[in-house]
């Protein structure tokens, strides 16, 4: 049975992730987000009491799912709907995840996977384990079915289909049938246990076979006529009751004892094993559809549980959220978008930005240092990645196109020394991106080509960005390269069809920064002087 909670039409286990997702995670600071999503918040009287330790499987899964982009509006909405249900029914998603985890763990303990090979040397242990796995599957599926059936008002296509599928593939009748056969072979697993409990009871089988002899007088064309397990009184061998029972049984005509002779006794056990393993194989093949079910369920519910927990983190900090909408690739419109990772790190609400780009291919952000430019760029990057995996985003509203290929090229502070080695490294990274990039890609450039002089960097940036733009790449760039910005500005003046937009970090007349981006032409100064004044000169003043 397929789970299909991530994609409507299948499990899509071979989808491609973003190119260089390691850089995306590092440059956008997504690790913080993964960790936050993996922690369950514990509430007391409506207040967050504490956060539990993170679940490493959730961290891994969220990383993996988030780094694989969806490709269509329908795919995104499919997940958004399921996530909506999960937010409304948090206990459901927790339950599903818990059951899946339990099965995977217990199945592992019963010798699933590579350990199976070791156990092959002991077929009886292997068979016993197989039977236990069937019990485990049966109990867990039944639990999942109850969990889903108890849930009212599931509105998402995905969860409804999952419920229907389970009712179909594991119906009440199917469960009863499997349990009946398990009951009939229970002598094989229960026999010993009951004896141990000192109940003076022992579970023994009754097996009736019909057979011919055409295969060289060996039992041939066997048919199973009857099979049952029955609890009977246990008498110590050698005791009077035992002897009496034995005597009574020996009066059965045309029969012989299955226990007296050592060889025959051993072969009787082989007979028991043969019948039980025959039925176990039958049940196993009936359950074959669930071989990968629990792994997939664990993986897929892990994603939704992480998303729900992330949402609880948003609520805790007080950051608002919405489900983003999909629009054309040349448009980008949002209001009060917040940089969520920063919010998580500081555990406080952060300043939001709004923006409306229509029919634009290139956004150039310039302006004051420490004015929130990089934060702005990251907030768009994070939101875009969250949107493209079907999650909510930290904004009042967010509309954007879908970019299955997102590339980041950030010059990190520690990289920005000026020397040829740095530029070489930067350009080689750019080269690798160019090999992969194409029409319909999104490129985030953060202070790129700043490892050489402003003049040279501007020329490099101009050439690369122009070529990429012509190739259909959507580019958002934060830059100090003012010559570059001015040049683009001059060329696109009074030409709306050029598809270029300029934003700048707002600076009030008195010099204070609002950390908001406003539409603004690039100037020749990036207000580094302001910063110098604030940090160096103000301190000097206050001291004096």
């Amino acid at each position: 049975m397929k789970v299909c909670l991530l994609y409507e039409d299948g499990e899509h286990t071979n989808e491609e992730s973003y190119y260089d997702s390691a850089s995306i995670i590092k440059d956008l600071g997504l690790k913080t987000l993964f960790l936050a999503a993996a922690k369950k918040l514990v509430y007391e009287n409506g207040e967050v009491k504490k956060a539990e330790k993170e679940d490493p499987y959730l961290v891994e899964t969220l990383r993996s799912v988030m780094m694989i982009p969806l490709h269509t509006k329908e795919e995104i909405e499919y997940r958004q709907q399921i996530l909506g249900d999960c937010i409304r029914h948090e206990e459901l998603i927790r339950g599903l995840y818990r059951i899946a985890c339990t099965v995977v763990r217990k199945w592992g303990e019963l010798g699933r996977g590579p350990r199976e090979k070791m156990q092959q040397s002991n077929p009886v242990m292997k068979l016993t384990a197989d039977i236990k796995v069937i019990h485990l599957f049966c109990d867990s599926l039944s639990e999942i079915r109850t969990l889903l059936t108890d849930q009212e008002e599931l509105s998402s296509k995905g969860l409804c289909a999952f419920h229907d599928g389970l009712l179909r593939e594991f119906s009440q009748e199917r469960e009863e049938y499997i349990r009946r056969v398990l009951d009939d072979i229970s002598f094989y697993t229960d026999g010993a246990d009951q004896e141990d409990e000192g109940k003076n009871q022992v579970v023994r089988p009754r097996i009736v076979l019909e057979a011919g002899l055409e295969d060289g007088m060996k039992f041939s064309s066997l048919k199973l006529e009857e099979l049952s397990s029955r609890s009977t009184k246990f008498y110590k061998p050698g005791s009077t009751r035992y002897k009496f029972q034995e005597f009574m049984n020996s009066r059965i005509p045309d029969s012989f004892s299955a226990v007296k002779d050592a060889r025959i006794s051993e072969q009787s056990q082989i007979l028991e094993y043969g019948i039980v393993s025959y039925l176990t194989e039958e049940l196993k093949s009936l359950m074959e559809g669930f071989q990968t079910f629990f792994d997939r369920l664990r993986y897929q519910t892990a994603f939704y549980l992480s998303a729900v927990q992330l949402l609880r983190q948003m609520e805790r900090i007080g950051i608002g959220w919405c489900f983003p909408g999909v629009c054309g690739r040349r448009d980008l419109e949002f209001s009060d978008l917040k940089e969520f990772v920063m919010g998580l790190e500081r555990r406080v609400d952060v300043i939001g930005n709004s923006c409306s780009l229509k029919q634009k291919d290139l956004l150039i952000v310039t302006g004051a240092n420490q004015g929130g430019k990089s934060t702005f760029l990251r907030s768009v990057g994070i939101a875009q990645i969250m949107m493209q995996c079907g999650m909510m985003v930290t904004a009042k509203s967010y509309q954007s196109g879908i970019f299955p290929r997102i590339f980041v090229h950030f010059t990190r502070r520690e990289d920005s020394e000026m020397n040829s080695g740095r530029l070489d490294e930067e350009l080689s990274r750019m080269n690798r991106i160019v090999e992969q990039i194409g029409d319909g890609s999104l490129l985030l450039l953060n202070e790129s080509f700043a490892t050489t002089t402003e003049k040279e960097g501007s020329v490099i940036a101009y050439d690369i960005i122009r070529a990429l733009k012509e190739a259909g790449v959507r580019i958002l760039t934060v830059t100090h390269l003012l010559s570059f910005a001015r040049r683009v500005r001059e060329e696109s003046r009074d030409m709306p069809e050029a598809g270029v937009e300029f934003l700048s970090a707002e600076r009030k007349d008195d010099g204070t920064r609002t950390f908001r981006m406003i539409r603004h032409e690039p100037e020749l100064t990036s207000f580094g002087l302001d910063l110098y004044e604030e940090i160096v000169e103000k301190k000097t003043q206050s001291r004096s």
């Binding site: 007088m217 299955a258 009936l286």
Partner: protein, 506 residues
């Protein structure tokens, strides 16, 4: 099954039933890449057929006898009849193997009866299928007559009846085994049970289920538990058990030698037919060669069968060629650039003669081939570490026996002789060799890099491996005067490194 019949000498491979078993596999076998072809056949048909392909039938009459039989085999109905016959025989062999695994007399007897039953059914089925076919070859007609005679004999019919009766009784001997309260009881049943529990599984599970296997099947011999059950049953059916024990003691060989020989030999035709069909499906053609009295020889669309087989997986193109020897022409001398298809052409010519001689179809659109008593090949041994004198010595020592008088009329294939000798010497020796073979009434082909050999000799025709306008190998072989090939271009061509070639590759 009683007395030996007069048909004891019948063979589907030769007219008089002579067994042509030479001591060693002919040298041409390796040189013509026949091994590759036969290996492919043995993968499916077993190693025994290797022997059948290793030796040429002794006379022209044998060749014709085989060709007629193969003509019948190509009849789809005959082919299907024989194919299902070989499958049935496999079933018989499996039962025989079961019999050989056990030593308990009761068990041996049961397997023996089943084996006999299957064997009888196998030949009866073959007879009834062949009866419906139109057989035009002497060989197949004779076989069917012999088969009918055997199946009609009183000895066979007695065996058949006895086997059937016992088999029926064995099949009807069914019983119920009840395993309960740590005892096993056994009761014979009159009518076969339905498997009630399995029916429940089928119904509730909503699908077909596997057959329950005997838990003791890994041991071919009876286990103590099974034996204990049999002891109870023996008390109920003493008559049948007595009879079985009797059979075990007096086991007889029911097989007919003549049929056993047919069984082994007929796969010769079937294996080649299956190969032919596989290749025909892939677009390769085969034809039945004509045999001419006037020693004319020609073929159209000839290709290398071994290459064709490997092309099935590699997808490489196989280039066919036409050829003819005019009256009085005895030897092709083939020259041309390296990697131009010279050796392949020589091989395909050898295969043409070989498959004709074997009485099979040939890998060509059409062919007309005279009778050659033998095929002689001389290929240089590439792995040989010897050079110079040593190599020449080795070559000559292989050449000498080929040139003996009794080999006259052979088809001779010589590939690159005397490569390490001085050109002057090589030319003289080469001409002598050609003259000698022509004098012995041989026909053949001589592949060489010495264009002088192609000139001015009685009975010699010059052939060339052709290049196209860009001087790329076409693998086409045409008549034409030999020309010198410049060395550098040769190497460039070999690695396909000139301008046009590179343009094409890039």
């Amino acid at each position: 099954m009683g007395e030996e019949s007069k048909n004891e000498n019948f063979s589907i491979l030769s007219l008089n039933g002579t067994r042509s078993e030479a001591e060693e596999i002919a040298a041409f076998y390796q040189d013509l890449n026949l091994r590759q072809i036969i290996d492919r056949l043995t993968a499916k048909w077993g190693k025994n057929i290797r022997k059948l392909y290793s030796f040429l039938p002794p006379t022209a009459e044998d060749e014709a006898y085989r060709r007629a039989v193969y003509g019948d085999i190509k009849n789809e109905e005959v082919y299907r009849a024989l194919m299902s016959y070989t499958e049935d025989l496999e079933g018989v062999a499996e039962l025989r193997a079961e019999k050989d695994k056990v030593s308990i007399p009761l068990q041996k007897a049961v397997w023996q009866i089943r084996e006999t039953e299957a064997y009888c059914r196998c030949y009866e089925e073959l007879e009834s299928r062949l009866e419906k076919c139109v057989l035009s070859s002497v060989g197949m007609q004779a076989f069917l007559e012999i088969l009918k005679e055997i199946l009609d004999s009183s000895g066979y019919r007695e065996l058949r009846e006895r086997t059937e009766k016992l088999m029926k009784e064995i099949r009807e001997l069914r019983f119920t085994l009840v395993y309960d309260k740590d005892r096993i009881s056994v009761v014979p049943v009159e009518t076969e049970g339905s498997g009630r529990y399995e029916e429940m599984l089928r119904k509730e599970g909503g699908r077909e289920i596997r057959q329950l296997q005997n838990p003791f099947r890994s041991n071919p011999s009876l286990t103590e538990l099974e034996y204990a059950c049999l002891e109870i049953l023996e008390k109920k059916k003493p008559q049948l058990f007595r009879e079985l024990r009797n059979i075990a003691e007096h086991s007889e060989d029911y097989e007919k030698a003549v049929l056993r020989r047919f069984e082994k030999e007929v796969v010769f035709y079937l294996s080649f037919r299956s190969l032919e069909q596989e290749l025909e499906k892939a677009g390769f053609c085969f034809s039945t060669p004509e045999t001419s009295e006037d020693r004319r020889m020609e073929a159209k669309g000839l290709y290398d069968l071994a290459l064709a087989l490997s092309s099935l997986t590699s997808g490489k193109e196989v280039v066919p060629n036409d050829l003819y020897y005019e009256e009085g022409e005895r030897f092709f001398v083939l020259t041309g650039p390296n990697q131009g298809g010279k050796t392949t052409f020589a091989r395909s010519l050898g295969q043409l003669v070989y498959f004709t001689r074997m009485g099979l179809d040939v890998p060509a659109e059409s062919a007309n081939i005279p009778f050659f008593p033998d095929i002689q090949t001389h290929f240089s041994v590439e792995e040989s570490v010897e050079t110079g004198r040593g190599k020449l010595k080795e070559e000559l020592s292989r050449l000498a026996p080929m040139m003996e008088d009794h080999k006259k009329g052979s088809f001779v294939i010589i590939n690159e002789l005397f490569t390490t000798a001085a050109s002057y010497d090589a030319e003289i020796m080469g001409k002598k060799v050609l003259k000698h073979f022509i004098g012995l009434g041989c026909m053949g082909i001589y592949v060489t890099h010495l264009k002088e050999l192609a000139e001015g000799q009685q009975g010699v025709v010059s052939l060339r491996a052709m290049l196209n306008d860009q001087r790329i190998q076409t693998f086409k072989i045409r008549r034409g005067a030999a020309e010198d090939i410049p060395c550098a271009e040769n190497v460039v061509n070999k690695y396909r490194l000139n301008y046009e070639q590179l343009k094409e590759r890039l």
